[in-house]
């Protein structure tokens, strides 16, 4: 469960955002849409604790992440928030499996190999697990990103334009995986997108203006 209240943010005096409140229960999905420059990515970064809002509160289960110190925030994010980016980033020197293990090690101090293998299997990329990330296709990379975001059984799953660089078939598949896996893991799923292909699939939408 994640909910926000009265969030405002400004990079500088000229550019400030007043962001609408949202509430998303575990297992359900919210779509955040809006044109470029309306603060979609900014909102997502605030929700992830990567940016500190000027005012407002963000509650994930019982924790207000705005009040956390930076290092507590890092830890909280690692354990409770999974993020899927538009373009997949990986630690390029580590294999796919090791990338997933790294995600769990950073959050909990343990390499959860079993969980990593199970996720890779669910996403049907087990045979790629010993490859380096840049040896995979873009569609496969995006699936690995989803697996990594889900490694620590997060309470919130954030996706930033997860489909924009994918073709129709892959886009559909990624959305399907995101929704089904977030339901299965009881995570609140928030997707930021301007991709019209997926807008129609979700009824719960917030549009930034």
């Amino acid at each position: 469960m994640i909910s926000t209240k009265n969030i405002t943010f400004s990079y500088n005096k000229e550019q400030s955002f007043i962001l609408p409140d949202l509430h998303c229960d575990a297992g359900s999905t919210i779509l955040i849409t809006g044109d470029s420059g309306k603060g979609k990515t900014t909102y997502l970064h605030i929700l992830a604790g990567l940016l500190h809002p000027t005012t407002g509160a963000i509650t994930i289960d019982d924790t207000d992440i705005v009040t956390l110190s930076e290092s507590k925030n890092d830890k909280f994010r690692g354990q409770n928030i999974g993020i899927v980016f538009q373009k997949s980033h990986f630690v390029s020197a580590l294999t796919v499996l090791e990338n997933l293990e790294m995600a769990s090690w950073l959050a909990s101090g343990k390499k959860n190999s079993n969980r990593a293998k199970k996720l890779l299997e669910q996403l049907s990329i087990t045979n790629q697990s010993d490859k380096l990330p840049n040896q995979l296709s873009i569609g496969q990379q995006q699936r690995v990103s989803i697996a990594r975001a889900l490694m620590n059984e997060p309470k919130v799953l954030l996706a930033d334009e997860p489909t924009s660089s994918l073709d129709d078939k892959n886009a559909e598949k990624v959305i399907e995986l995101l929704t089904s896996l977030s339901k299965e893991n009881k995570a609140a799923l928030i997707i930021v997108t301007h991709d019209s292909r997926i807008k129609e699939k979700f009824s719960n939408r917030i549009t930034l203006v």
């Binding site: 940016l51 890092d74 980033h89």
Partner: protein
């Protein structure tokens, strides 16, 4: 896990890594060799001078006199009359005087005529057998016994002069009666006998005018070879009528040098002038000459040392450039690690470890390479000067300092990139990606 990631990262860009490691390795290797060489060289040189205050010998280069008579590495300056040397050897200032007469060689190992004081001076105990008493009895150094596999009772012929290819003196054979312990000093590589053996080997007193008994003077070898042919007959006669052994009391003989130890230290200061003014001989101080030699080497050693530090500086810069260049492409990785829960200081540590790992690897390779180089140097020095170095010695203090210096270079090279990683703005990085 961070260390593992750091290890993977440095091998992900192998060319950068190898360049940095090669630079580090070569600078560490040069410094290691210098450190070991300098220490062992000084040790060897100093251990051989112990108990020798001055050396009395023929006029010429004092350094040459010291090198030839104390270290057995150079040709002697010439011969001196034993009778006139005795005057000084028996002087009340002198505590101990060890006469040396350069004889022949056996397979490149020098045969040195001397007294048993020589063995005592080098604290070379006889491990097998006894000391030489009669003429042509020899005590061989521990190193020779090992290398040439000689045993008590073995007999051999010497070759003339100091070249192993010299003419063989086959009318007298030397007999091994004792083997000295290894001492790590020059005596390990010497064959020692009585001085009269050297005299007798080269003919008795009567032949004196025709050829010089010992080999101090340069250019004397070839003539002597010819003479030997002419006097072959003579020699045979001599060996028959020379039933009475020659002794040190023989008159009119020559020796090569005398090692002097003083009772009265005044002598060390005053003798060089007195002897130069009153005789045709000279005395030289090993301490002064070795100092001179070391200071001559010193310029080269210093130059090498600066070169090595220069290379180390360059390797530091190379690590810095490699880390700084990849920082840009790795920004996303760093941001990602932060998103996954890594703290700022973990990124700082990651960059630091990468640099320090390079340094540790470079140091290990450098230490090994330095020792391999020393082994090679040692084997060639062994061949040319009978002088060997021990590559397995560790000088913990100096090499420890070198290790810390290497780490410091790594730390310094990584400082700026690590701070940049620490200060990374994740949101901005991800938004611009």
């Amino acid at each position: 896990m961070i260390a593992k990631l750091a290890w993977r990262n440095i091998w992900f860009k192998p060319l950068n890594t190898i360049l940095s490691i090669i630079l580090l390795t070569s600078s560490v290797a040069i410094i290691t060799v210098l450190v070991l060489l300098e220490k062992q060289f000084e040790e060897k040189f100093n251990s051989n001078i112990d108990g020798v205050d001055l050396v009395l010998g023929a006029q010429g280069s004092p350094l040459q006199l010291i090198l030839s008579s104390v270290y057995q590495v150079d040709a002697p300056t010439g011969n001196i009359s034993y009778d006139s040397a005795k005057v000084w050897m028996q002087h009340p200032f002198v505590k101990k005087a060890i006469p040396l007469a350069f004889g022949d060689n056996y397979r490149g190992y020098k045969i040195l005529g001397t007294t048993t004081d020589y063995l005592e001076k080098y604290e070379a105990k006889i491990s097998k057998g006894k000391v030489f008493e009669k003429n042509f009895e020899v005590v061989i150094g521990g190193e020779i016994a090992k290398k040439l596999n000689l045993k008590i009772g073995d007999e051999f012929f010497g070759s003339h002069g100091d070249a192993a290819e010299g003419e063989v003196h086959d009318h007298f054979s030397y007999k091994v009666v004792g083997i000295a312990e290894m001492t790590g000093r020059v005596v390990d590589n010497l064959i020692l006998c009585t001085i009269p053996s050297v005299w007798e080997m080269h003919g008795s007193h009567e032949e004196e005018e025709l050829h010089n008994p010992i080999h101090g003077e340069e250019g004397h070898r070839h003539e002597e070879g010819d003479e030997h042919l002419q006097h072959e007959h003579d020699h045979d006669e001599h060996s028959h009528h020379d039933d009475k052994e020659m002794t040190l009391d023989e008159k009119g003989m020559e020796i090569t040098a005398v090692l002097l130890q003083f009772r009265n230290k005044m002598g060390i200061v005053t003798w060089p002038r007195i002897i130069a003014q009153n005789t045709k001989m000279q005395v030289a101080s090993p301490a002064i000459e070795v100092n001179r030699l070391v200071s001559m080497f010193g310029i080269g050693i210093d130059a090498l040392r600066y070169l090595a530090y220069g290379i180390m500086l360059i390797s530091g810069i190379s690590i810095f450039i490699a880390l700084f260049n990849t920082l840009k492409e790795r920004k996303n990785e760093f941001a990602l690690l932060r998103v996954n829960g890594a703290k700022r200081h973990q990124l700082l540590i990651l960059v630091m470890i990468e640099s320090l790992l390079l340094c540790v690897v470079g140091f290990i390779f450098g230490t090994i390479l330095g020792r391999i180089a020393l082994m090679l140097i040692s084997s060639s020095a062994e061949k040319d000067f009978k002088f060997s170095f021990n590559p397995y010695e560790f000088i913990w203090k100096k090499e420890g300092v070198l290790f810390l210096l290497t780490l410091f270079v790594g730390f310094f090279a990584a400082l700026l990139p690590a701070i940049k990683a620490y200060q990374l703005n994740i949101s901005k990085t991800l938004a611009n990606a």
